[in-house]
């Protein structure tokens, strides 16, 4: 009797586990399938278009999406991420032009600046008790202004090894250097973090701040760490931009919009506490492929903006509808 109950419990548990695993990853798997289909389609359109071109173009915004995803998982949102990318981009470009021989310390310094910017954002969120969205909205102006102070007009320089680092492929075409750089850095930071107590607290704070606090999680520190990580990845985005364009541009690109679009596509819940980093990265590549396809098809840029918006709306509506269905059952 007990044995039967036990076995039954086991099978239910196992079934639950399988259901949870497929449910959790189904979104990412679906994204990868869409990505593969799009890639084949792109190859049919223009066989010379390689993954390397896609990976270089998408590198800054992929870093932005990773940083944004971490903050959103922790229950916040970083509207200033585009400005931080612009700021670190111009700092790197100016320093590298003036002292190309010190390129390695400069890269490390820019990353440190990124972390410090993130810490400032996080501390302001914690100390001011103003909602994240308002704090980072204000800081969007501050960091964009700082970028203009550093460099009034596009300029500055870069060094060759940064460009070589992300250009071309590692042997086969499926392994563009830019993608490898992205995956290695994100993996080195995220995988150990995800398994640590700190990573768990990021998810805990994002999913229920009060519950996390009552379980002894240091909410303030966790939030600051999440913003610091976002600053770190934004600085990587800025460096990637310097490396791929060779200059610094003080006007923020559309990275905020794209990063939010990518995390939503990538299955990260804006309510916090749910999602991973692989989904947003695949999301960025999908958006990049769609843009490339439309260029190859000769679609006007204006139409392609409309189409991107429509895709986003449809995706989020389907996603929200599925969540509703799941909640109902």
């Amino acid at each position: 009797m007990t044995e039967r109950v036990q076995r039954r419990l086991d099978t239910t548990a196992a079934r639950g586990l399988i259901a949870r695993a497929t449910r959790g990853d189904a979104w990412t798997v679906g994204l990868i399938v869409i990505f593969a289909a799009l890639l084949v389609f792109t190859k049919l359109l223009r066989s010379s278009y390689g993954l390397d071109a896609l990976a270089i173009g998408a590198l800054p915004v992929a870093f932005a999406a990773v940083g944004q995803a971490i903050v959103v998982i922790s229950g916040g949102i970083d509207l200033s991420i585009g400005s931080v990318i612009a700021l670190t981009n111009v700092i790197a470009a100016v320093l590298l032009m003036n002292a190309p021989e010190l390129s390695v310390p400069i890269v490390l310094l820019v990353l440190l600046i990124g972390v410090l910017i993130g810490v400032v954002n996080g501390v302001l969120v914690v100390v001011s008790r103003v909602p994240d969205i308002v704090v980072t909205l204000s800081m969007l102006f501050v960091w964009a202004g700082a970028a203009l102070l550093v460099l009034g007009t596009p300029g500055g320089g870069s060094v060759d090894w940064l460009r070589t680092l992300i250009t071309g492929t590692l042997g086969i075409e499926l392994l563009p250097r830019a993608l490898v750089v992205l995956l290695v850095i994100v993996g080195l930071v995220w995988i150990p973090l995800r398994r640590s107590r700190l990573g768990l607290s990021i998810y805990a704070v994002g999913s229920n701040q009060l519950a996390a606090f009552r379980s002894g999680v240091n909410v303030a520190r966790t939030k600051v760490v999440a913003y610091a990580l976002a600053g770190f990845f934004a600085a990587l985005g800025g460096l990637a931009l310097t490396a791929s364009t060779g200059i610094g541009t003080p006007i923020p690109g559309p990275y905020l919009l794209l990063s939010v679009a990518a995390i939503v596509l990538g299955g990260v819940s804006l309510a916090g506490g749910r999602g991973g980093l692989l989904g947003p990265i695949v999301g960025i590549y999908i958006l990049g492929l769609i843009r490339a396809d439309m260029t190859f098809l000769g679609v006007q840029p204006a139409y392609s903006t409309v189409l991107q918006g429509v895709i986003m709306v449809v995706v989020v509506m389907v996603g929200a509808y599925l969540t509703l269905r799941r909640a109902a059952t």
């Binding site: 949102i77 302001l124 001011s128 008790r129 103003v130 909602p131 969205i133 308002v134 704090v135 909205l137 204000s138 800081m139 969007l140 102006f141 501050v142 964009a144 202004g145 700082a146 970028a147 203009l148 102070l149 009034g152 919009l257 939010v260 679009a261 939503v264 804006l270 309510a271 006007q300 840029p301 204006a302 139409y303 392609s304 903006t305 409309v306 189409l307 991107q308 918006g309 429509v310 986003m312 709306v313 989020v316 509506m317 929200a320 509808y321 969540t323 509703l324």
Partner: protein, 327 residues
Amino acid sequence: MTAEATARVSPLRTLRGWMRDQPLVPLFGLLGVLVVVLEVVQPGIVSPGWVSNTIRFAVPLAMLAACQTMTMLTGGIDLSVAVVASMTSYVMATLVSDFGWLGASLFALIPAAVVGLVNGIGVGWFRVHPLIMTISMSLIVSGAVNVYARANITGGTRVPPEISWLGGQTLFGFLPNSLLLFVPLAAVVLVGLRRFGYGRLLYAVGDNETAARLAGVRVGHVLVLLYVISAVLAGLAGLIFAGVIGSATGRLVDPFLLPSVAAAVIGGTSIFGGRGGYSGSIVGAVILTVLVTLLTVLQQPEAVRQILFGAIILAVAAAYTRITEQT
């Protein structure tokens, strides 16, 4: 006993409690300080003409802030207001020669209402996060405006004298004509939020959506209507702003997006919903307009202006949160 308890309350706490009950007082104080600073920096600038000019520029911003206030009361946000306003002013300016000013204006509000309807369906029925829904819609709208501009390249645009009169001219040389539209609108929003059933529903939905739903509120319907109202208001703001500037392009009102959110936040509306009101947002819009004038008068480079703008919004929001926080 009671007297003892009262005596123990520190004056600071009393002041804080009083400010919590009267959230407009510190806002007007801040506005006064800004005006004084402006007068000190550039003596003689504060004049009836300047006041009139400030109101003229603050009116469209205050209308966009109304959209943010109402959506924020439900715990949402409408980031498509600026592009909707730009679109409406541009569509109006292209249609004037065919339909006259009134027909063109009314016709231009139709696409605005459609955008609001789509926003509302996404947020209210599909339960998409408002931030995402309205950001995506603004992508679509700005792209669509570009497509329209391309198709309409030979048509040209013209802001009719009636719209210029409404946005750009004054009654008796002082009162901007846009107040003729704005005052009744603001009155409806102010009274409506407090007294009308629909206004109270917005607070109810923002405060506790589940409770509102259990009490029989059709939350989805409320939200659909809300985003339509927001988009139409944004369209009207765009028309008035076209009159203020005297021309209309597809991106005319776009820079007003973040200030419209800032005005509602400074005005004390909680971005989490359920708390706040429109009166604060109006003062917030005036404060931001004066602040922009001040930063221009200080003759700082664009970079410093942006930094100060962001820092001041954050400082005001933080101070406001501290003062009005329930302790």
